[in-house]
């Protein structure tokens, strides 16, 4: 197998979103900073639920993670559905690239976009909410794994959807509610018992909670638990994507 084929597709996936970076990097950066500004101003007097942690410091990692995961999802799903709609996916299907190579390249594109957006927000917001860099290992692990999982989810959604509105529905009715209910804006421990328990079934909760641990050293559940849950998701989703892709589900007629 030739590495060049795989690298070419990776580069193409990255160049694709970079060529429209105003939409793909700058716009999410601005909207997240607006969230930060508004929520931070309005609720900054609220307690974060953790000792010695201001609401702003609590909010920032959650918002960064929320934006990273949304952008990772958006990257692989729109790349794939655009390729389908424009018909140029066939160019890829005619090439000697394997299902694994195609999957990994699309997911890598999603990871890079998610990371770039995350780094951009962290850099800009550092000037008004200085954060303490607690643990780069947890930070990176959660950032990379989460963008990987969301890249894979986006890939799956892009395979499944044959129209843009199907994809938009998936984004509005699955991704968005799950992110808002994942504890970005509040600590789950402050919720009534029922909602707390419901949150345990939301995979995004573990992503946000673990990532926050990397920033602040505090979390609702152990970062090891979060890491395991996300890893399990990564494995299951990858396997599912690879099987469907190898079968040509919805792409090889």
């Amino acid at each position: 197998m030739s590495m060049l084929g795989f690298l070419t597709l990776c580069k193409k996936e990255i160049n694709r979103f970079m060529s429209v970076s105003v939409q793909t990097i700058f716009a999410p950066l601005v909207s997240t900073l607006l969230y930060l500004l508004i929520f931070g101003q309005v609720i900054s007097s609220e307690s974060s639920g953790f000792e010695h942690v201001s609401y702003n410091a609590f909010l920032l990692p959650g918002l960064i993670m929320m934006t990273m995961l949304q952008n990772a999802f958006s990257n692989s799903s729109s790349s794939l559905i655009q390729s389908k709609m424009y018909g140029n996916l066939d160019l890829l299907l005619l090439s000697p690239l394997s299902a694994t190579e195609i999957f990994l390249a699309f997911v890598l594109g999603a990871v890079v976009r998610g990371m770039l957006v995350g780094i951009a927000i962290a850099l800009v917001s550092y000037f008004w909410i200085p954060f303490v860099w607690i643990n780069p290992f947890w930070l990176l692990s959660f950032a990379l794994l989460t963008t990987f999982v969301l890249g894979a989810m986006g890939f799956l959604a892009g395979l499944w959807a044959d129209k843009y509105d199907k994809l938009a529905a998936f984004q509005n009715f699955v991704i968005l509610p799950l992110t808002f209910l994942s504890g970005v804006f509040y600590s789950v421990s402050a919720l009534p018992a029922f909602w707390q328990q419901a949150t345990w079934f939301n995979p995004f909760f573990y992503m946000v909670d673990g990532f926050r641990y990397g920033f602040l050293g505090v979390s609702d559940v152990s970062p090891w638990l979060s890491l395991s849950v996300i890893l399990a998701f990564a494995v299951v989703l990858s396997a599912l994507c690879l099987v469907l892709l190898a079968k040509g589900w919805k792409i090889r007629r």
Binding site: M1, S2, L4, G5, L7, T8, L9, K11, K12, N15, R16, S19, V20, Q82, Y86, G87, N88, D90, L91, L92, L93, L94, S95, P96, L97, S98, G248, R252, R253
Partner: protein, 307 residues
Amino acid sequence: MPNAIAVEITNLHKSYQGVAALTDVSLQIPEGSFFALLGPNGAGKSTLIGAISGLIKPDSGRIRVMGHDVQADFRKARRALGLVPQELIDEPFFPIRQLLRIQAGYFGLGKSQWAWIDELLQRLGLWDKRDAYMSSLSGGMKRRVLIALALVHKPAVVVLDEPTAGVDIELRLSMWAFIRELHAQGHTIILTTHYLEEAEQLCEKIAILREGQLLALEDTQTLIASHPWEYLEVTLENLPAVLPQMVTDLLHRRSANKLVLRLSRDLARSELLAILSAAGLVLTEMRQLEASLEDVFRTLTTNGVHS
């Protein structure tokens, strides 16, 4: 290896929601041949080509390209094949030269292939458009980009699915010249087209599909020779207002005082003359017309299975 097989299709079946698109198609296309796949719309030509290129999954049967199974040995099979699809595509993110370089990259071909890409752009009249995006190109130009994309990796087998549909005549001719050249260089060429005379002129071997079944697979000349009809153009001195029944039975078409008659090959000339004189027609001229592929095709697709 004059007897090598470029594409081997064995017992191929494909149906869509229970409706058969291909039924038990078996076919061997020799290496180095110029092969036409003909059939009316919906005959299954694109489906067959899709199966060869791996874009379509057959229900059963197997396909080898240059000896490589398209499923089990997909990398080698795909390296050996270049497909120009029937449907035009678009790519809004990359200009066409970059698109060609990306496509070559998928095949593991880097900078060493760039000179070939530039040559393709020049040969296909796309050089001035190398930095343009697909969406700004006309249909004919897009078609040529698709040809270039299919050739970036210099595949042994080049498959073109109705490459001249919607392309003006001048461009069509230059396209054929280019494809002929590829054939002369040793590429196996497989095409589907609605321009039957061109297939007749270009292709050595012809397969005819109808409703997913292979009706005929012959050398072009054999196919034309085996056509059961011959066509005779007769010029008449006098043309009665009403032609007698025995003449209208033979009539293929008429214009002014010329009649084109469709005759069974075993009808003796003297017999024909007897029929015409019995009808009171006086001939001034008689000319035999060649059976064209169009005729062969029409006979086969309306009269059922041949040979």
